[in-house]
Symmetry: C2
Subunit: 376 residues, 2 copies
């Protein structure tokens, strides 16, 4: 089997140490997936991603569908070959981006009609289309199209979206069964239901009944308190099969990652390290640092003296501040290198803690160290 | 002596193979110096510059004077330490940039009053100030302030600028003698005189009489025919001491580099590879390539199959075109990596040709291969 998920060890907290085998290599879990929207993790070469130990990246179906187009990528031998990343890739379904278009999209049971944010051209994304595109991209893990609602939506609206997500999940499985290749790609279902535990429970149970090889939790950490996100995560995971990978989509802050792992999450992705880096927001073992701050103007120290990333091994805060204020490309590159390394490093330390059966101790340490901000 | 220039071999053409020892390492000459305006070669890490074999970079006094300021860089231990580039650095005098400000500057015999292109603040650049700043930066090679005139200037105007350049060169030597350290920095005089051979001869002779450790030729390749630039170069070099390095400032196109070397030039710098890269103009052994061209949309080949740069070893034209059209940072990085490598590679091949006594053969080959454009 090209795909195999194995839980090697379970921590008293419920955290799992595991490995996910894919046709493009093994991912140690829990894993953090840097976001490579358009087939590039903004600012980093593929070489540098390899050097800092990224094992899997996430790419966005919506963005690649518009530019350069799925057919071109298929013609070029798939996304791995196109971007020269011979390691695992997970693609989202495009749903999150399409639903974020607000006024530019219209949802029906069939799918979502939307206009491109680039040129206003009209497109239609259905559960089948989302998979057709991801099959063309050839990513290792593909996601079903789900309906994402605003966190402010009421229960009825959220329930309707969860119901539609389930209906779409069935169609997705049917399409993937007919056109996909389970030896080449692994398909994940997505549990929705907002901050409503009973909707989440229901959606999880029905999604599990569809028997996906992996499950994701969508629509969390979108504004509700962290405690709520943790509770919902725990609730959903408790109903997912222990033998399948559990992916929490779009989270989170460095100090929160371990909390989700402690609730049985195996995979996460987040734009915070990459987007933050480009805006000069750096994550450290002593909290967040805004590199533009005048206090760093003549600071010869690395971002974080405890960090072994290529940026911290060579460059000073003073230089990084200069690059940031001068809007130099190298600033974005070095900041991103640090932040992504930092996330991967936290995840590596989390895996170590699970191995030693001490994840909850590590959670407290993270919380105590990271909630302060160097800049404040 | 921390500084030593040695001519190892002279080609029948007049080209010299040499080495320039500096406190920060040896430069094999003829050398190409990538431009690192603000203390960064735009888009490249210092690690990648080392990996592709850059032995010296050029930084701009004008830009660093405005941001982050020379005093800050001095406080941080000098430019080498500030930017973490422990290899040779040459700084220009700031003159070229200041004179390019046109309406924002006013020249007198004292120096140049100018307004910053960033915030309009008022500053004054004199021969002494240009050196004060470069001494603070701590670059290995420092340049005197010269007066640059438009290539359209008449002979009288050009002669006046050359005369002022000479007067400033004397003041520069006096200032450097009093405040500089010839064990730490090497100072170059600059020969001006436009496209007028007799002005160039006169300026060269008088500059040589001042006895600089190295000489530069400024104000060439600014619009006049390439043949004229070659003739002037030959004329000037014939009057410079053979034992000192000869630096031709701000040139040139890939197919022209060897022509200057054949006239006795040892050092060159140019923004073409870096600036061109950011605009999608790539240099190859088969001419220039505009990566945005639709013909590359599904082209799986590297930029140049003959090129061994990190970009060509891994990435396709199709991917680079996608990155360029999507304005992704990685596009600028990979394009720059290729172009700078290409210039360094040409220079390495030039050095080889000189070693084999066959530079003129290489000149013809370059001419024949590079004048076509892949995109045209």
């Amino acid at each position: 089997m090209p795909f195999r998920f194995e839980v090697l060890h379970t921590d008293p907290s419920g955290a799992r140490l595991g490995r996910l085998e894919t046709p493009h290599g093994v991912i140690e879990t829990p894993a953090f997936m840097p976001v490579g929207t358009l087939g590039t993790v903004k600012g980093l070469t593929q070489e540098s991603l390899e050097a800092i130990g990224a094992q899997i990246i996430l790419a966005n179906t919506y963005h690649l569908f518009l530019r350069p187009g799925a057919e071109l990528i298929r013609e070029m031998g798939g996304l791995h070959k196109f971007m020269s990343w011979p390691h695992p890739i997970l693609t989202d379904s495009g749903g999150y981006q399409v639903f974020s278009l607000a006024a530019l999209r219209k949802v029906t049971d069939d799918g979502v009609a939307f206009r491109s944010h680039i040129d206003g051209s009209s497109h239609f994304l259905s559960p089948e289309k989302a998979l057709e595109v991801q099959i063309a991209l050839g990513s290792d893990v593909v996601m079903v199209l789900d309906e994402c609602v605003e966190s402010s939506s009421d229960k009825a609206r959220t329930a309707a979206a969860a119901a539609r997500t389930l209906a779409w999940a069935k169609r997705s499985l049917a399409y993937f069964g007919a056109h996909g290749d389970s030896q080449r790609q692994m398909i994940f279902g997505i549990v929705q239901g907002g901050a409503h535990r009973e909707l989440r429970r229901e959606c999880a149970d029905q999604m599990v009944a569809l028997d996906f090889p992996g499950y994701a939790i969508g629509g969390l950490a979108v504004g509700e308190p962290h405690e709520t996100a943790c509770e919902i995560t725990e609730e959903v995971v408790s109903r997912l099969p222990a033998d399948n990978p559990h992916y929490l989509m779009g989270v989170g802050r460095p100090e929160q990652i371990a909390d989700y792992v402690a609730r049985g999450i195996d995979m996460m992705d987040c734009v915070l390290p990459t987007r933050g880096a480009r805006h000069g927001c750096l994550f450290t073992w002593h909290g967040r640092m805004l590199i533009r701050n005048a206090r760093y103007a003549n600071d010869p120290r690395p971002i974080d003296p405890e960090c072994a990333c290529p940026t911290c091994r060579r460059y000073s805060r003073a230089y990084l501040r200069h690059l940031f204020l001068s809007r130099e490309i190298l600033g974005a590159t070095l900041n991103t290198l640090h932040n992504v390394y930092f996330y991967l490093d936290i995840m590596a330390k989390i895996r170590n803690s699970i191995g030693f059966g001490n994840l909850l101790g590590f959670c407290s340490e993270l919380q105590a160290r990271l909630v302060t901000s160097v800049s404040d």
